[in-house]
Amino acid sequence: MSTVHLMGRQKVSLRIGGSPTLWLGLLGWALVLAGQTAAAQEPTDGAVEPKAPALSLPAANNLDRLGLDDVARAQGGAWSNFFVENQPNPEIMATVPAPIAGLASQAQASYSQADFPACLAQSREVLRMLPDFPPSLLVYGTAAFRLRRYGDCRIALDRFREVAPSEVWRTQVLGHALYSLGEFEAARDHYLAVMESAPDPRAVSLGARRGLALASYRMGKTADALLGLNGVVLLAPGDAEAHAWIAQVHFDLEQLDDALSAARKAMQLAPYEPRAYFLAYRALFEMADLAQTDEAAQAFESEAQRLQAKWVALSAAASEINTLHNRLLFHVGDPALLRALANQHKALGDIPSLIQTLESLIDTSDSSDPTTLTRRIFAMDSLRAVGADDQADALKAATTELFPGVEGLPE
């Protein structure tokens, strides 16, 4: 059963493209700013002198004012001493005026709540007050990527690369953005730079490794792609997406047996992801065409049709789910959207995704909010419908505690 807990804060996975395995491990260090409210001090050598804090936060829903084009740059070398042995310099951090530090903390909180427009607005304001402040460039770039503003992501992380050249290894998300923009050669070069600049090979994430393989694949270098993807699954045998990509490359090379084998592995690891079913059924249809006997052809044909039907159903659901996720990017925490998303996952029987969605839906303990109880009842109903009784019981207990005397909760 899932390890996701239903009563904590919403757990925001830093996933890319829905992949559970592409984690962006680049924010942790930047978030050290959280809670720092040191009073303004004289800047140390190399740090920019902060302007007098005069915060003018743009509304997060003003999507036209979230870009960095008109945000001033720092003077050359301003942040050259910010990183010491790949860690932020506490002395420089301490010079950050309290209001700016507080706003940077808010940006991190917004990110954690998947409120990326707010995160951009807050980070942008930090950068307006403290040009090219490296942690905020990183937070901004990552949030922009999550919001699918790849061009904005690129601007932020290009600036980060300039002001913190020793820290390029932290910017694999820029590779993802370049890839999403169709700039595969630039993406490949960036992934290589990320990997080569990592202070420790263990710091190179699977995301960067896989990104490099996929950029190579997009450039037609299938051998390099296969090598890279196989490297990923050696490190992470449960990486369903890497297995699916391996299937894709083999299928392109008309290596049908290998394609089918990798697709089956991906289907096993991620039974609700449609892509592997697509590759499997296509390989099977072609195997049916090649079969030596009618019986063999019929067997391939039959399984191909079964997997194709499965793919059609999963693909339709994935399309709906994707649409809801897109809307949630701009309607953060919208209960109607979250309920619709939960219903999609429930219909699929995808319990981990259902639980994650329900966690977002019930992410309030405000007993004075009349919707708090109804959201929880919906969550309990949903959990029981898919047989997640342990989670339903836990939620029921917590709800009874929050609403003493409440009766009629779903059994």
Partner: protein, 568 residues
């Protein structure tokens, strides 16, 4: 037959041309003042998105390509009960410029014109015209002028027809009609942008196609007199689910001697209809999922808009080029073994540049006369809001030529802007030799804007060419729509070994993809291949026997030639 190594060597010797501004925009003098209407600049409804259409063909019988501009309307005109802007015929002046045809060619406005296609519907040798509409599709018989015969033409219903195809589906020598329909639109039922009901990247935009009802495509059997009738239920042509149809091309995609259909659908899987003859009769079977041309390589449905077809990789089977939405990439589906296809957009260099673009009119043609097929695509976003911050795309976009710089076995495309024109909001486009100089020119429609003529400024030294038009007096399909023409060339071995034969193939088609009609002619760029050593025509009416191309014609390179079908 050719060998791989010889062909590769041969392709490497083909003439290379600088493509800097190869196409010159001459619309200002070629079509002065000719513009189209498609609602308002705000694009509040999806009906206003797609723009008008273009149809190329020799309507006047002068041997030059004339141009029909299919025009749209505005919500205000519709709501006032006024007809849309009339389609109009622009007669070629022979030099790539056009003049409005006389009143004999006048056509009344329909409700809201979209696209069209031209062919000889009644076997009189003159080109006739079908216009698709948001409303009732229309039929005009040509000759000395246009005569509208919509009322008795047998077309059924009033839908949103986007594109149309003429083909001899049942191999009876008469052109049949396919109308590709988009979606069920009603101003009273569909929310406008101002409602705020629909958003894209967080901003209000016009609504659709998601959430609206797709309309089924239609197929009609031609009766040979300019009218049509139902094929009956036996013809099939009923997909598992209706889709938002936008583009269509025809061809013998399964290489079995009859004509098939490929239809691109917006936000829904594309359809490949194979024309199948069984004991129970002829029918169309939808096989796009199985063949691998319904969705992209990841199994995701795309926003299929424009489409072109041609044999890019020289394997004797047609390939497909499909334009899609921004954030997706244009798809090049290359034919493989066993009638299946694989999307090879990335490996061929098509994908990267096209990712931020939203494509419409598209095609495959030898635009540099070097004997391989190049790609072209016209672009422009559906949402003016694409110009706002953070979208990673733009409303006005550049149109692209993707020049084939690879080999026959491994085509590779190098994108570059088609012309020096600033980004614009392009829609339908058609390709043809407008000025008779042997290189292929382009004509395109801007959404709610001018009709553009892009004259190919290829230098005569770039490579030779040979043009073929067919004449068939034995049946109503007088231009041989659906015929396949093959030319053989002797290729010397680069290493002094035994030479080989290279075969170039073209099919006569008149459906030009998205809301466009193309001329019924075959253009062969020859590069350095020299004079063909043999040629064949496979006529479309069922018998698979080829007619040899006369030797005198084969030597007549650098000209448009006519091949007539012998009488039976």
């Amino acid at each position: 037959m050719r060998t791989a190594s010889l062909a590769s060597a041969c392709m490497g010797l083909f003439v290379s041309t600088s493509f800097a501004q190869q196409f010159e925009e001459i619309g200002q003098r070629a079509l002065p003042g000719v513009t189209t209407t498609s609602g308002s600049p705000d694009v509040n409804w999806i009906l206003e998105v797609n723009g008008g259409g273009v149809v190329l063909g020799d309507f006047s019988g002068t041997g030059n390509l004339d141009l029909v501009v299919v025009d749209g309307s505005t919500p205000e005109r519709v709501q006032a009960g006024k007809p849309g802007e009339a389609p109009r015929l622009m007669l070629s002046q022979g030099d790539g410029t056009f003049a409005l045809a006389g009143e004999d060619w006048d056509m009344a406005g329909g409700r809201w014109g979209m696209g069209g296609v031209a062919g000889d519907l009644n076997g009189d040798g003159a080109l006739d015209l079908v216009v698709t509409e948001w409303g009732r599709d229309r039929v005009f018989l040509g000759g000395d002028g246009f005569q509208e015969v919509t009322a008795g033409a047998g077309l059924v219903g009033s839908f949103w027809g986007s594109s149309a195809a003429l083909l001899d589906a049942d191999a009876d020598g008469i052109l049949d009609l396919v109308v590709v329909n988009y979606l069920d639109f009603d101003f009273d039922q569909v929310a406008s942008r101002t409602s705020g009901d629909c958003t894209w990247k967080g901003r209000p935009v016009n609504c659709g196609p998601e959430g609206l009802d797709a309309q089924a495509d239609q197929i009609y059997r031609g009766k040979g007199d300019g009218t049509f009738e139902s094929f009956g239920a036996g013809i099939g042509f009923v997909p598992r689910a209706s889709a938002f149809g936008l583009g269509v091309v025809t061809g013998d995609f399964d290489a079995d001697g009859d004509t098939d259909l490929y239809i691109t659908n917006d936000s829904t899987p594309n359809h490949l209809w194979e024309n199948v003859v069984a004991e129970s009769g002829r029918s169309f079977k939808e096989v796009a999922m199985r063949r691998g041309v319904a969705v992209d390589a990841n199994g995701r449905e795309q926003a299929g808009m424009g489409v072109g077809t041609g044999d890019v990789d020289g394997d004797g089977r047609s390939d497909f080029f499909v334009t899609n939405f921004s954030g997706e990439n244009h798809c090049l589906y290359l034919s493989g073994n066993r009638r299946s296809y694989r999307e090879r957009s990335h490996m061929t260099g098509v994908a990267g540049t096209s990712t931020p673009l939203l494509g419409w009119g598209a095609g495959l043609a030898d635009l540099d006369n070097d004997a391989d097929l190049d790609l072209f695509a016209f672009h422009g976003h559906v949402y003016p809001q694409a110009d706002r911050a953070g979208t990673d795309t733009a409303y006005g976009q550049l149109d692209y030529l993707m020049r084939n710089t690879g080999t026959l076995e491994e085509p590779r495309f190098a994108p570059e802007p088609l012309s020096a024109r600033a980004p614009s909001v392009s829609r339908a486009a058609a390709v043809g030799d407008l000025d008779g100089d042997g290189d292929l020119d382009l004509v395109a429609v801007d959404r709610g804007g001018p009709v553009r003529v892009l004259r190919n400024e290829l230098k005569p030294s770039a490579g030779s060419w040979l043009g073929v038009r067919l004449l068939d007096r034995t049946c109503a399909n007088s231009a041989g729509v659906g015929a396949r023409i093959e030319l053989d060339f002797a290729v010397e071995a680069g290493d002094g070994g035994e030479g080989s034969v290279l075969t170039l193939r073209r099919e006569i088609t008149v459906s030009g993809g998205f809301q466009a009609g193309s001329p019924a002619e075959a253009h062969f760029g020859l590069g350095d291949l020299g004079v063909p050593i043999a040629g064949r025509v496979y006529w479309p009416s069922g018998d698979r026997e080829a007619q040899d191309v006369p030797g005198s014609l084969l030597e007549n390179i650098g000209k448009w030639n006519q091949i007539e079908r012998p009488s039976k």
